[in-house]
Symmetry: C2
Subunit: 222 residues, 2 copies
DNA sequence: TAAATATAATTAACGATGTTAATATTTCCA
DNA sequence: TGGAAATATTAACATCGTTAATTATATTTA
């Protein structure tokens, strides 16, 4: 019985790995049972011995990608000084991750919830994706009273919405047309959102704010 | 020659009308050449005598829907007193339009730009969709110095991104789960964005702001 | 070890899809 | 009225997701 489980897990792994590769390189439009099975080295019908349907398979990848995204952001921002500056860098790195893998962005935010049976677990992962990526930063800012408890939920929500909107418009090739302009927009957006409650901030954050706004306000994430 | 043009225009009209009906009722996933042609009362191949392909047809609908959206918002907000309050009501009505016709939201923001050959005209319509809907309000606020010239572009941009992000997360059934909660979020979002530069506002807007914030901050758009 | 059984993998098939090529029909003018 | 031009339709092809039938493999039993 143990062998069987192991083998089944391995088989599933092959298909999941193949699906992830396709999602990353060619995007969700290139996903097909035959395509996945090809890459996994099996016939397309074999897939159905291990997965209910293609969506079941596709969305098993979500958690994996979220973890990968968190690692990516962590790696990209490890040199940043903790606080608002690192928070901003994390958000920019988060954006960069999806620019690098637009197929994963599609999977997270474009593909309809109904397509994967509205699984609550996956919905939660996606909904809180940015929050989790920035979790350390939020907690640090809270602990050191850089951001007030009363403001933090609104901040998180605003940033979540804005970042997704920004990415949607850029990735779907609507606007802006240039990458450089997009980065400028991203910076402006984050600065503005994080500055929302400027007049309510305590001294610690005012210091940070001043420093940020005096520097050239464009952090290169390229 | 004149007859021919007229007839061609009529034929195109039949297909466009059919496409619009399907987009509104069943959404873009229900779009197919056979489906459209059925509704138009012709064979599916006839469609190709008048349109290059199915995307060409689908995206001819964009401008029509934008105009319709503008009318909808105008109608919904005609009783509101001009200024910030009407601006907010317009944004909420804009949101309501897409809640009512999620298929049109898909068409505007989800469907990839590449799918309709990156036509700049259509890209512009979509990119500036919210701005145009609120155009009268922005101009009024500017004229009466309720919003400063220096802030207006940032405000527009922020709102554009936030509103799209909000709608994406809700329409794809991720979060929030309840419509009432969604409306609360929408209100909070708009209030927060429009209050961004509170400390920079002149008296006219401070008055408006105070009034808004003293009232229950939830405008029912249902 | 050989036969019987259970399991896993594959091919065949169905109803869709978008699009093109080959036909059939209608329209219009000499 | 005949024939040319325009227009509409059916046939066909290569895709797609999914299921059923079939074959190959592995496991168990005699």
């Amino acid at each position: 019985m143990k062998n069987k489980e192991l083998q089944e897990k391995r088989m599933k792994g092959y298909f999941i790995q193949a699906t992830k590769e396709i999602l990353k390189s060619e995007g969700i439009k290139a996903i097909s049972v035959r395509n996945i099975a090809d890459k996994a080295g099996y016939s397309y019908a074999t897939l159905y011995n291990y997965f209910k349907d293609i969506n079941d398979l596709v969305f098993l990848c979500v958690s994996d990608f979220q973890a990968e995204c968190e690692s990516f952001v962590s790696e990209q921002t490890k040199k940043e000084p903790k606080g608002i500056k690192k928070l901003k860098a994390s958000i920019l790195a988060y954006i960069k991750y999806f620019i690098e893998y637009p197929g994963i962005f599609d999977l997270f935010f474009i593909t309809k919830g109904g397509d994967f049976g509205n699984k609550q677990q996956i919905i939660d992962v996606i909904s809180n994706s940015l929050d989790r990526v920035c979790n350390i930063d939020w907690e640090y800012c809270l602990k050191h009273k850089i951001i007030l408890e009363t403001d933090i939920e609104l901040l998180k929500t605003q940033l979540r919405y804005s970042v997704i909107g920004l990415l949607i418009l850029y990735l779907n090739r609507l606007t802006p047309k240039l990458y450089s302009e997009f980065i400028t927009q991203a910076n402006r957006l984050i600065d503005s959102e994080l500055g929302i409650k400027y007049e309510n901030l305590n001294d610690a954050m005012k210091d940070e704010q001043t420093k940020i706004q005096n520097s050239i306000i464009s952090v290169n994430i390229g």
